[in-house]
């Protein structure tokens, strides 16, 4: 009976699509954390290598979030936004006048002072940790 064969086929197709989307979604995290695990296993399983991973993840996030569109990290040149080179190494204040601390930088990223787009909805706490770890190395 065409109609119910059609119905069952459609259901099957949607089911397969759903399974693929879910499995690949779950796997994406696994693929990366397996790589983390491998890296941690190869270097010594210690605090320093864990920190290095966090910094690397922060660097990737920094790139993917497009921060480099407005902020320089290699030079002190201000672009659309101020340079972040040496941010935690003696810069006096942020543009909003607050001193540079872990908290004030996080707040600035979440709910920026001026023309910067807000990232509160786009970064969770773990990602924020990674970005901060990266920024601290600049």
């Amino acid at each position: 009976m065409e109609k119910t064969i059609l119905y069952r086929t459609s259901l099957g197709v949607v089911g397969v699509i759903c399974v693929i989307a879910v499995v690949l979604g779950v796997l994406r995290g696994e693929v990366i954390s397996q790589e983390d695990g491998r890296k941690a296993h190869d270097t010594q399983q210690n605090h320093e290598s864990l920190k290095a991973q966090t910094v690397n993840q922060g660097a990737v996030l920094y790139k993917n979030m497009g921060c480099g569109h407005c902020h320089a990290v290699d030079s002190a040149q201000n672009g659309i936004g101020p340079s972040l080179k040496g941010l935690f190494k003696g810069k006096e204040k942020l543009v909003n006048g607050l001193p540079v601390t872990d908290k004030s930088v996080r707040d600035q990223i979440k709910t920026p002072y001026k023309n910067m787009p807000p990232f509160a909805n786009r970064l969770n706490e773990k990602e924020m940790d990674r970005i901060l770890a990266y920024l601290e190395t600049l």
Binding site: M1, S10, V16, I17, I20, A21
Partner: protein, 439 residues
């Protein structure tokens, strides 16, 4: 469903393609909830793009399934896309542990674009399901449907372009643009370019004959220099009539009622049931019509091994079955057919004389039974409705070797399917043609 499995496999591969790409090239993981949420958005968009492919009546796709089946599939897919897209922000909100995305007001414009797309899609779906009940004229509904489909695609494109973390790498961006542009090009080809091309080489109305009080047969001949293409008896086509200026110009689909064994003309037998078909009687010889077809896989010629057929017809549902009977007559087909043709009154029987001639001449070998529910006093044939009793009487108890072709009003056909199934007929031996795309 020949080659159907292959095409279905391709469909799944197509729809999930960006997910495969994003897993390896896209943004890093943000936790399972977020990643699945992003994947759902990707497949939701891909399903919508695929619908433009399906609706464009591409022969390679259509020939495997039949356009009427494809359109029903299309409706299921629209629902599936809406589900994926609706769940997408919910998963992201859960993944970010913040409901701000869902209920916040101070959000970037591209987030609002995404929400607008979901709302518009749901409205589109509801209007498709309840179009009749809203009293919306078909043509008006169709234009709205087409435009909103494009709008939805555009909104999702923009939303994903600015909000989508997976779209920050070049390969994904290229794919995104190609998909959107492809859908738009398909739409333009289907609705404008091809429609205009068919309109430039229209068929001509050679004869318009009134069969009964509200049923007309229109015979069309091809333009000079062209011949009628091949088609199977039972297939349908789209006709866009160009007639007197005050008459509407709309594309509608009807069964091809002529036999493909003759190459002089094609015909459709049309009943006045709606605001367009009410004007069919005003069609004149010399009027023209753009013809797009043939479509569908409802035809006995697809199953040459089946030799014992039962046709169950109600009202104007006789048309595809008549095309098949005419073809059987023309090619000297030796199989046997039992036609149970239900109607109300004797003067409402379409093709009455021709059917009697066929049965009398045994061309084809047909047992012809008319069943009238409101006959005049002088009617000596069967009365009442096409029910289990009539089927048993004319088809016997052992229905195992018979194949049933149904065509008639939805309720009648639904009922008959139930009766046949309870009598033990296998699903694969019940074939049904449903005229309306919108139910």
């Amino acid at each position: 469903m020949k080659g159907g499995l292959f095409r279905i496999g391709l469909y799944v591969a197509f729809v999930t393609l960006p997910v495969w790409l994003a897993t390896w090239l896209g943004a890093p993981s943000e936790g399972a909830l977020n990643d699945v949420g992003r994947n759902f958005a990707l497949v939701g968009f891909m399903i919508l793009v695929a619908q433009f492919l399906i609706a464009a009546r591409i022969k390679w796709i259509e020939q495997a399934f039949g356009l009427d089946i494809l359109i029903r599939y299309h409706k299921y897919m629209a629902l599936a896309a809406a589900c994926f897209l609706f769940i997408h922000p919910i998963l992201l909100a859960l993944g970010h542990r913040s409901w701000k995305l869902l209920i916040g007001l101070d959000l970037p414009w591209y987030i609002w674009a995404g929400k607008a797309a979901i709302v518009l899609l749901i409205v589109n779906i509801l209007l498709g399901i309840y179009q009749g009940r809203f009293g919306l004229k078909f043509e008006m509904w169709r234009v709205g449907h087409d435009l909103s489909a494009i709008a939805i695609l555009l909104l999702i494109f923009l939303h994903a372009w600015f909000a989508g973390d997976d779209l920050k790498v070049l390969p994904m961006q290229v794919l995104w643009i190609i998909l959107f542009a492809g859908a738009v090009v398909l739409f333009i080809h289907h609705r404008f370019l091809r429609a205009s091309r068919l309109g430039r080489h229209p068929y001509r109305v050679e004869e318009i004959r009134q069969e009964t009080g509200d049923v007309w047969t229109v015979k069309l001949v091809p333009p000079p220099g062209r011949t009628i293409g091949d088609y199977m008896p039972g297939q349908f086509h789209f006709l866009t009539f160009f007639r007197a200026p005050e008459l509407p110009v709309e594309e509608h689909h009807w069964t091809i009622s002529s036999s493909p064994a003759q190459k002089d003309f094609i015909s459709s037998t049309i009943k006045a049931v709606g605001d367009f078909t009410a004007t069919i009687g005003s069609t004149k010889i010399g009027d023209t019509a753009a013809v797009h077809g043939p479509f569908g896989r409802y035809s006995y010629v697809l199953h040459p091994e089946e030799r014992d057929l039962v046709f169950l017809a109600g009202g104007i549902g006789i048309t595809p079955l008549m095309a098949m009977l005419r073809h059987m007559r023309d090619v000297g087909e030796s199989l046997s057919v039992t036609l149970l043709y239900a109607g109300q009154k004797e003067d409402g029987i379409v093709f009455s004389r021709e059917l009697n001639d066929m049965a009398a001449a045994k061309k084809p070998h047909m047992t012809l039974v008319h069943i009238l529910s409101r006959p005049d006093e002088n009617w000596t044939g069967e009365t009442g409705h096409l029910d289990k009793e009539k089927i048993e009487k004319y088809c016997g108890q052992n229905l195992g070797e018979k194949t049933f072709y149904l065509c008639g009003p939805v309720k009648m056909a639904d009922g008959l399917v139930g009766i046949l199934r309870r009598m033990g007929v296998s699903k694969r031996r019940i074939r049904r043609e449903i005229f309306s795309f919108l139910d």
